[in-house]
Symmetry: C2
Subunit: 171 residues, 2 copies
DNA sequence: TCCGATTGCATAGATTTCTAAGTATTATTA
DNA sequence: TAATAATACTTAGAAATCTATGCAATCGGA
């Protein structure tokens, strides 16, 4: 998804000429100072690099989060997996279908409750764990280069608090 | 996009039973402490609430970023708009098509350079500016409730630095 | 000046995600 | 215990995004 785009925020005006808003300052709410925009840009940059790196192992970003959850806890039902990963169930169905085709998981109908489908990693997927977690960590490490560890801790706490604040809001 | 999902990170085990990874600790690289996961979660929460709120005005998230750019600088070419918004050109084509149909913009073939399509806001879109920027700000404000302003500034600086770090990496 | 490169937009096709609705199984309750 | 509700997964359809490619207009160098 996330492209190799570096946003161009400064207006370089040429012959064509573009007009400014009518309300005085160009933005009452400048994107560069908005947490929303900053989070969005960081998200795109992180996702893009992670996607590039795991693609070398034939893994897509859509599969990544499910792999990660299953490495921690194998044999989950699809619904439980959806909850762990934070995606809706139809999304899980599609991701698991591609993972089954790629030989990363098997789906087993539960014996006790025939509604449930247990998802189990294949040996192949288990073997990839160490290498792929190293890849994920490399992305984080490279993102945090040159930033004071104390500041990173503050930022992490702020992000978690923002998410918690928003999750409490229904609309 | 972003759903009203609250991720369930704690494993509540029932009868079905799931098995843990084989490498000692459950995660060598726990999601809850990874900047990547924290950014992703915050991003989803922010996008979801913004999407809900602007939907009341008939605006989709796909249209939002383009509106925002045009409120700041009207009459941009499609390519310039793509760069401002940070999206690829085909994405811009699709978003602008929906915006034209919704009566938010007009596309005008440039007189000087017939390749270019200038994108101009309609009066309707201009009138929505104040109200919609207020909506966007409300999302940010609610996200930041109870967080020390100093910490927010640190977090913003960290996010910007992380994005800059990553943007410097090709792969 | 003319032809190849560049620029600007569009199309095609794939992926990832969502919401809404459908089906099968299990649990509850009158 | 039969009808109803809840649960678990699936399908259908739409939206937003990407990569790769195509076409038309413009520019630049021989």
């Amino acid at each position: 998804m996330a492209p190799g785009i570096k946003k161009q925020t400064t207006a370089r005006k040429g012959a064509g000429e573009a007009r400014q808003g009518t309300n005085g300052s160009r933005f009452e709410f400048p994107p560069a100072e908005s947490s929303g925009y900053l989070v969005r840009d960081a998200h795109r940059a992180l996702q893009w690099l992670l996607g590039k790196r795991i693609a070398d192992y034939g893994i897509t970003r859509g599969q990544w989060y499910f792999l990660r959850a299953l490495w921690g806890e194998d044999g989950l039902s699809q619904r439980a997996l959806s909850a762990r990963v934070g995606m809706m169930e139809p999304t899980t169905v599609i991701a698991l279908r591609s993972m089954e085709k790629a030989g990363l998981i098997r789906r087993v109908r539960s014996a006790e409750d025939k509604r449930k489908a247990e998802v189990w990693l294949t040996p192949k997927a288990k073997r990839m764990r160490g290498e792929l977690l190293k890849v994920a960590r490399s992305v984080t490490v490279e993102a945090e280069v040159g930033i004071a560890p104390d500041d990173i801790r503050v930022a992490q706490r702020v992000l978690a608090q923002m998410t918690a604040n928003l999750d409490r809001i229904k609309r």
